[in-house]
Symmetry: C3
Subunit: 345 residues, 3 copies
């Protein structure tokens, strides 16, 4: 009997199934440094303990996206080892700040199943939760993936499609920080909540070329072991003929690029959705643009922007490319990501 | 007079000679993060403080292989700057756990010498010890290297071949952890001591392509300065015409790959031997397989597996390739490493 | 109105103008590990807490060059986003040691301006200071850059050229450490203050090939966002047609290489000047040589060497190449850097 992990196939999942994932991970200042060095992150809230403490944190926190990638990575061996595609995210939340020294553990629950008409694959919906060492829920999100069946003859399960919100209501998140010590100059922008209008599009200008070593180091930092990202020899026989960059690398680089234009929208408080609309490969240059989709009041001193973050490759982000005339994502569009960020008023 | 280090040549060594090495190094959480990001290490014992503390550690320890590479790196300027080949390892032990904040210093003693028949080179055997800041021995191993003579006419020393054990007896290591809090799910495998039989071969399935940047960053992390790993311009004139990847990088990647099939054999407690059987270059993809060579009881709750860890490149590890019909290592076999790992019963 | 940062153009600067820079950064053990892994730094003073504490530090300090790059990086969006060239440094000092946990903030003052005869560009001189979280000045230096005008028709400012010292007087730096616990063997060299003479040239022998991933990771670690280092797609249209390596990467690699010959000159205490005399690109191999320009007594137990550190690429540093017969820097010379280092007597 093989002792390596064969992963789960579509017919192995059932609604209500709980999967506790290996490996718990203690995050540290080392992860903060590496995340910055790999993504180019510059938000003051995640760079300087002084700035974070002046704005409601008990020290320098871990960037929520770093925690997200770590929790996501843990789910790969159990959820998506036999996946064909990662289809979407919804209802992502970050209820508890994470600090160096905290240990994250991840648990997923299957909340939906739908066999595809081909009979060879199906869609699995999971709600994944990350907990800290005291059992507090630190983050939570839904994702759905298309997974191969082991045996195409296995019977189809009853179809269950979870009821997912189009977007998270940021007013329901109990956001408690007052951002009392926010300093525009240190944060890097004069533009606060009131300076952004729904419909605004922001060209983040800068570009970041991604090397094989960079995305591999980042993806291992998150303990994500999906072989498409690492096995260059094996990938020669694949659809693209080469290693594919983990989508989370694209999210984090695009988010870091968005500093230039959205520096004060530093704190991601919810993920509404996200689609990896095209592959990224080593040697490609990532650019990003954002669109303000909505605004919300969180408190007297803090608002929230609902932002569409789009990553494009090897093209001017100032063209604000998203979809072609056929309604499909245009060539070179790699990411369409929808999130809420808190921003001082 | 040159002020750069010329290194020692074969005739500079004598049995009983002690070499205290530069540079002492304080290990930190930053090294733990980098080691994970560079190797793909996922063992819960070295990933999560909670898991480590539940299983007999006083916090998150440093992976013994990381400590090994750091100590090894210190010896390079004194032992192997003028080496032709690294021939073998024996009798490696890790008597004391190392934690972030500990400072490692290394000392080597020459325990054997044998001039080769050519008269141009000789084999130097050293016992190297790594100490923490309180003087406790943290690790110890023997290695032997072939070193050039400065002057082929220098007289040959008396031949002294040290008496080295074929393997370490794990029952003599005073292993004290009970692994009382071991959780298979968090550790990543249902397979414990009783599930492995002598002769079992395990295909670790996954592959890892190594980039120049990755092995260079890792090798500098260990402060190993052997120029074959870094000087691409100089290496154009060398036998391979390019940079050669440090063998320790191969050991650590193969060991990290072995998680998939041996996740519970998390703790390396002794190195019996090891041979770098072929070169690895940037762009090559490392795969690994293991063979259970022996088993031993350590306590009521913990056993040990003696494992052969083989790294191959650009070929299916499920073929379990080791030697050809001529008894020589087959092409593409990069590492034949023999160690003991503790594993819960 | 664009919300991304357009940077300052020449006519936006005036003498006496103060620029507080984003983003404050808390340095950590993670940065120490990454700096070592990216540069190959091996000085015991910045590697081992034990060694640092035995020689006058309150723990393992941050390498002054790492702090320099971090402070420099902060100035880029405000000073050199529209720069044509970085022309020089002067009067660099490190008055306060920095430790993990300290937060650096940077402030620059414009101290000189000179429009070029073309009318299209001008030279901006700034004094930049880095402060720790208690407001102590941790480092300070002058640099001057050639910056584009937005509008060539804008009037020229009055020319102000600051009075800058050719070199820092190390006796004025109040150097207070006695190096009481200096151990040559642990530090890696038998050569102390008395072993170096003015005029000595030292071949540092070793070479380091730099990969795209390495310089990008380093430059992001410093939160330096100058697009010439990252935007491979955009750089296709540039003068060199490819990404240019940040000059600070060259300084740090050359300085790390200088360990081999100058291991005891571990502590950079002042920067007298520096010129990036030629571009470095990924794939190039850096070598270094040094020349002792001057010597000074700091105390009964410590002296200082004024060192010229030269980085060359793809050529033997033992040729000590600097300038051609025409007096210009010779091809392949990348850096001519002038600094003072403390060294035990």
């Amino acid at each position: 009997m093989t002792k390596s992990n064969p992963g789960h196939f579509f017919e192995d999942f059932h609604v209500g199934m709980e999967l506790r994932h290996a490996t718990p991970l203690t995050l540290s200042a080392g992860d903060i440094s590496l995340y910055r060095a790999l993504t180019g992150s510059r938000h003051a809230l995640y760079s300087a303990a002084t700035f974070a403490e002046a704005n409601g944190y008990d020290g320098l926190p871990i960037d929520p996206l770093l925690a997200f990638h770590v929790v996501f990575g843990k789910t790969v061996p159990d959820i998506s080892l036999n996946a064909v595609a990662n289809l979407g995210y919804a209802d992502g939340r970050f209820p508890k700040a994470i600090y160096p020294g905290d240990t994250l553990t991840a648990v997923s629950e299957v909340i939906g199943l739908k066999q595809n008409s081909s009979g060879k694959t199906g869609v699995v919906y999971v709600r994944t939760r990350g907990f800290n060492q005291t059992g507090d829920e630190a983050l939570s999100y839904v994702r759905w993936v298309m997974v191969n069946k082991r045996d195409p003859g296995a019977p189809a399960p009853d179809t269950v499609i979870p009821d997912l919100p189009d977007s998270v209501d940021p007013r329901g998140l109990s956001f408690s920080r007052a951002y009392a010590g926010w300093d525009n100059t240190l944060a890097g922008s004069a533009h606060r909540f009131g300076n952004y209008e729904i419909g605004d599009k922001i060209n983040h200008v800068d570009g970041m070329t991604v090397e094989e070593a960079e995305h591999q180091i980042a993806t291992r930092l998150y303990q994500n072991t999906a072989k498409v990202h690492f096995d260059g020899h094996g990938q020669k026989e694949s659809r693209f003929g080469k290693r594919l960059i983990y989508g989370g690398v694209v999210i984090s680089i695009a988010r870091a690029l968005s500093f230039n234009g959205l520096a004060n929208a530093a704190e991601m408080i919810a993920i509404n959705g996200g689609t990896h609309t095209g592959p990224l490969f080593a040697g490609d240059t990532v650019y990003a643009w954002s669109e303000v989709l909505d605004k919300a009041e969180l408190s007297d001193t803090v608002g929230a922007l609902r932002l569409r973050l789009v990553a494009v490759k090897d093209q001017d982000p100032g063209d604000f490319t998203l979809r072609g005339e056929d309604g499909k994502y245009a060539p070179g569009v790699c990411l369409d990501f929808d999130y809420w960020a808190a921003i001082p008023k």
